[in-house]
Symmetry: C2
């Protein structure tokens, strides 16, 4: 039983984790339907103009704009309608001054035309159309290339795909797109007492919580959580489990003990055996017994076993690490500023996360114990009391980071 001798500040832990994280360089071509939320692994360069042709932006008549210059309701310009063009059809006749073509919104305007007069500004008698107001060149015309021009770089490598960006790729007719692969994250829970939900619980055993909370966080932040059997509390069992994980194309390994294995040494021992330890122990509460290191090129996070410590460190450390590997922008959780409903005390030697509920517009402490998952599941979010501060007074404003 070796206690943690030295802890590092959370800022230092974040710096070391950030330095060690490398964005995934594998890419895949996926259907555009599945691309929202993924990150582009290629520039999107326009292979065509959008719109691909000059099209009517209104229902009405395609005209030579200049011929309408004197048109008014009292002295309409009279044009001869030579054709009707529905959307999805092509005009066949070129119009000359004195002529017009009836046209539907979205249809290509005929050669010779350079504007559309809205149907509301016209009156038709047989083939003769009265134009009641002048239009300027290109008025009510969606010009070819007005949205996107051929060879234009529409989106760049590294951009996150949103609904509108997916739409701009669709506009170019691309049905597939190259995106970065999502990091494969192995979650390896250890502990002789840990049992998977759905299995019977024997005396002395508890159910696995951390695999579920960690996998949920991993999926929310762009990773693919890989599940492995729970490993026993021995260096040999853990070592075999780690070999199995590494053989499974893992980009990141997250260990978690069942109750408090992080406070013992197994994770550290297997890290030392197979790789290196970058740090062990962070001055944060809860979540002090956290380790970080490498096995080959794979970053390894050793999370505390207590469910609240494990999940709170997942938000603090795993999320930034994972998002960087997944080519996702920095996460900006929603925060609200509310007064503290009562005094919060902290140990000023450690950066403290305090889970809270927001009751009648004020922050009420919800933390009971790092061992209690309800410390977080019944909370709305958490406040942070930085190292060096030991009290938040009642009524003082606090920023609540919402779950």
């Amino acid at each position: 039983m070796r206690p943690i001798k030295e802890t590092i500040p959370i800022s230092e832990a974040l710096r070391l984790v950030d330095e060690a994280s490398r964005p995934i360089d594998r890419t895949s071509k996926i259907p555009l339907e599945e691309a929202n939320g993924r990150t582009l692994a290629t520039d999107i360069v326009a292979n065509r103009d959008v719109p691909p042709f000059n099209r009517a932006a209104m229902d009405g008549y395609a005209v030579v704009a200049e011929t309408t210059a004197d048109a008014s309701r009292y002295k309409p310009t009279r044009l001869q309608c030579i054709e009707s063009v529905h959307t999805g059809r092509l005009p066949t006749l070129r119009i000359s001054p004195g002529e017009c073509t009836e046209i539907a919104t979205g249809a290509p305007i005929p050669d010779g035309a350079n504007a559309v007069v809205m149907v509301e500004q016209t009156n038709r008698q047989g083939l003769e159309v009265e134009i009641f107001s002048a239009v300027t060149p290109w008025q009510h015309v969606g010009q070819q290339g007005g949205d996107i021009v051929t060879d234009q770089t529409v989106l760049r490598t590294g951009e996150l795909l949103t609904p509108s960006r997916v739409g701009s790729i669709a506009a170019l007719g691309m049905a597939e797109v190259d995106v970065y692969d999502q990091p494969r994250v192995a979650v390896l829970c250890t502990g002789d007492e840990i049992v998977s939900p759905g299995q019977p619980l024997e005396p002395g055993q508890i159910y696995d919580i951390n695999r579920f909370t960690l996998s949920a966080v991993i999926a929310e932040h762009g990773g693919v959580a890989l599940t492995f059997p729970i490993a026993g509390d021995s260096l040999e069992a853990l070592s075999i489990a780690v070999d199995h994980v590494i053989a499974n194309r893992t980009d990141l390994l997250v260990f978690s003990g069942g109750s408090s294995v992080g406070e013992r040494d197994l994770t550290l021992d297997v890290l030392r055996l197979k790789g290196t330890v970058d740090f062990h122990g962070i001055s944060v509460k809860p979540g002090k017994p956290t380790a970080f290191g490498h096995i080959g090129t794979i970053p390894v996070l050793g999370m505390p076993g207590y469910p609240t410590s494990c999940l709170s460190n997942a938000y603090l450390l795993l999320v930034p690490l994972l998002r960087r590997m997944a080519h996702l922008p920095t996460y900006r959780p929603q925060t609200i500023s509310v007064p503290a409903a009562h005094r919060f005390t902290s140990t000023n030697k450690r950066h403290q996360l305090y889970s809270v509920r927001v009751v009648s517009g004020a922050a009420v402490g919800a933390f009971t114990s790092s061992g209690h998952i309800t410390s977080m599941s019944k909370a709305d979010g958490y406040i942070e009391i930085p190292e060096g501060q030991d009290i938040v007074e009642q009524g003082e404003n606090v920023d609540v980071t919402l779950f």
Copy 2:
């Protein structure tokens, strides 16, 4: 060609849509691994205590607290170690005053014990253990039921599952959970000129954008987007397509024209033919030609065909409707407050959405045309200029809703 005669304010449109939306009452039992982000369709009542037994919260020695009352480093209390209990194992011997049991974090404390002395506060010689400091009853013990007590309602019907709430269900050993089904949303794009990406584009045709932007928004907000073939520009084609949609267990139908069908009447005609029209035309820019109605019990949104109008109305109207149907809480998009980089003008008769980029900390207009998807794909978010206001001056602060 029937123009929109009357428009209703956005607040009225939202009220009508909200009134008409009914949360889905179908439920499914799904694996806990897939439950994050879903909404509980049942109360979660604890079927056991968590922790299920009194367990050691520290590595050390289980003792009768009262026997350590006088312990100090200078005058240690001496106890006889009668057993060692590893995590996941059970104590076999009851301890009496004068005795202790070596115990690992997470292991059940033996009968008779009511506290744990941390190993750092002890010294062991063979079977004799010196205790250097007093412990109080239940100190360093995770008490049975301390987190969750049998029969306690841990989570309630309608609560959104988050990582920690999934964790609290895992703690109870439940491997499956009842959640509300996600609304099945049919996206039906119409237009003779519309072609799916991946297909060749003939003259006069354009690629389908709206199916992709709408499907992405639907998936982001708790729906399942169902794809149907593009319907032609005739009442007959649309009517057949609608019958097909309804036969496919659809909870919500979203129409979108390819270019601007919403400004024509097909969607309205088919709505009138098969159901009812609740409103047609909203005083919002872009997005005026939007319809809402019902076919049987299925709400129907008729979206404008122009990609920016369609997507912007998806954010305004579809998202609240869908989230309510999906039992999801009101969406609170992230906003930032920045100065306007230049004057923005609006038509004060309509609520206007203006897509903007944030450049050097100021909002710069990015809107070019409702027909241009790049009006949004190159934007960071949008500002809203309410009905009745016609100008935002340069330097005035605006709230940018981020995409």
